[in-house]
């Protein structure tokens, strides 16, 4: 598996993206401007380039001409939300377009979706005898496919990306269902019960009092 190149001049954002991707199990490289990025692309190979549009020196729209011949997929990162900029970015050959401010979970989903379409960088998540391929969207236990509903899959993905970490209920709910939880909702608990049953993980998914749930395993 090759690393993902992050081209972004804001150190805070660059570190944030690197941290998010590393936590999801991806290796990363970083470039602070267009010229440095061009040098790195010439010398190394990457599975994906996350490219900021507004860069000092050579900007993202110019840099994409360097990257496309290598066949590496590109996702633009930009503060410009205008339809014209979006269309321009996609027409230039970018695979996707992420508008700032973005949430790390959204970034991760877009990265995985682009990698899946490009058939690259499959990062199989593994906890115990359960394996999840977020690019192929397949879950197996002991090599046997397990049939999961979409929300069950999304919930399992959140847990498997953070093994050994206690995740807050509200955050889990928001990431899986996309909105803030209603009060006293049992939806999350019901889905946890389904996962425990389907994967035979009654003990592996632990309830943490006052926080939420934790998947037993070694933290990354």
């Amino acid at each position: 598996m090759k690393p993902i190149l992050i081209v972004e001049d804001e150190p805070n954002i660059r570190n944030l993206i690197a941290l998010t991707l590393r936590r999801a199990g991806y290796a990363t490289s970083q470039a602070a401007d267009g010229i440095q990025a061009a040098d790195m692309i010439e010398e190394n190979q990457y599975d994906l380039v996350l490219l900021d549009v507004m860069l000092p020196g050579v900007d993202g729209f110019e840099l994409i001409d360097y990257i496309l011949p290598t066949g590496t997929p590109v996702i633009f990162l930009t503060a410009k939300a205008g339809v014209n900029d979006r269309v321009k970015g996609l027409r230039l050959g970018a695979d996707d377009y992420i508008v700032k401010p973005f949430e790390p979970a959204e970034l991760l989903a877009r990265v995985e979706s682009v990698l899946r379409r490009a058939g690259r960088g499959s990062t199989v998540l593994r906890v115990g005898d359960v394996e999840m391929d977020p690019v192929a969207l397949v879950v197996t236990k002991n090599g046997e496919p397990v049939h999961l509903k979409p929300m069950e899959y999304n919930l399992l993905a959140q847990l498997m990306r953070n093994p050994g970490v206690a995740l807050y209920r509200s955050v889990l709910y928001e990431r899986v269902w996309g909105s803030e939880p209603e009060e006293d909702t049992r939806t999350l608990d019901i889905h946890i019960q389904r996962l425990r049953k389907k994967l035979d993980w009654a003990d592996t998914i632990e309830t943490v009092r006052g926080v939420g749930y934790r998947l037993k395993g070694d933290p990354k």
Partner: protein
Amino acid sequence: MKLSVKFTLSMILMITLVLSVGGVIFMAGDFNQNYDNMVELSYQQHNAQLSQLQLFLKDMEADTPAQFHAALYQYGNSLDQYGGGSLAIFMDGALAYLNLENQPDDSALAELARVVQEEQVSALNLEQAGEGVSLYICSNLQWGESAAQLITAHDFTSVYTRRDNQVSWFARIQLAALAVTALAAGVVSGALTAPLKKLTATATAIAMGDYSARTQVESQDEIGSLSQSFDTMAQAVENQIQELNLSVTQRDDFIAAFTHEIKTPMTGIIGYADILRESPPDPKTLHTASEAIYHDARRLEQLSQKLLLLLGLNREEELELRPVSLAKVFRGAREALGNPSQVEWPKGTELRVWGDEILLVDLVQNLVQNGIRSLEEEGRVEVTAELQEDLVLIQITDNGCGIPEDQLERITEPFYMVDKSRARRMNGSGVGLALCARIAQLHGTQLSYQSQVGEGTQCSFTLEVAHEEDQ
């Protein structure tokens, strides 16, 4: 109806009216004079005839009515013989002799004679008979006890023929004159309205969005000056549109830059906060994330503060300026900057200037801050204030990295940064100089820059001195 048609029709109407009235007056006058002449001539002939008849009667010594009768017949016969005169004689209401050309009704002649006999006057009567027109003059001839009426006929046809000829000749002249008038009026009105057509076409073109269209009519008349006014107006409109387009572009640039400046720290804040709230963080992540959130939030806060000030100042038309002590301004800026060691301030200046103290502190603070940001390790920033007649020249000079010449023009645009990564590292937002330029403008001065890449930058502006007596 088109203007040229209206003009042509009114010209034709006017010419027709003038020619008709003139012609009628002329022809009526001519006819009346001819008629009067003819009447006078006819009377003379009539009287001559009458005298001749009287002489004849005298010669014949016709004293009795019978002799008178006989004499009259004889006179008639003698006239027939010599072929003289065209006349009729009535006696006692009966026709005594008749030899008239174009003879009218006998009864009409008898009626004429009867009136003349009864009223004892001479009379004339105009009769139309056959092709011609004749005047009949009748007078009473009293001879002793007897009386007779002499009627002579006079051909008036020529008078009427002449009038009819004049009328038809005049009608032809008038027709020709009207044709010429119509042609001339058409040509003239066409020439007059051609520029109007051009005006219309140009106005339509402008309405359709071609703001560069002009009439370019250069005649000296009213239409010419209208066209020139129109062209001037079109030029003004075009300039205005260009300015609007420019300001729209500038606003779009501003919004794009503003969005970027806002969204970048937002992304950091949201992203790191999301990591923190996901699960109880380890100390290292906690530190990195809270550090990033703090700095990004500070950056947003500074940006919003400066933007608010800039927007407020942009709305301000004119500042109320007061005498301000420069020493106080420099002290304020120095304290706001945290007394940086690289800056050399002017010593013991007692100058007072017209200004707003808070804004002047902001101005000096921002300019000095920019100087500090440009410095390498060994750099210095020097601030000087120098009295020049009624102005104080303030200069902020650094020996930092300098600004490339092609970028000097743009540095006061909001969010413009010469070296973005350096400005970021120094916590610059790109709004400071736009703010400085506006503050300078409100003080009736402007910032002027001199810079050399690698050598440093000097920024200067002037303020008006506040004299003792002003205070």
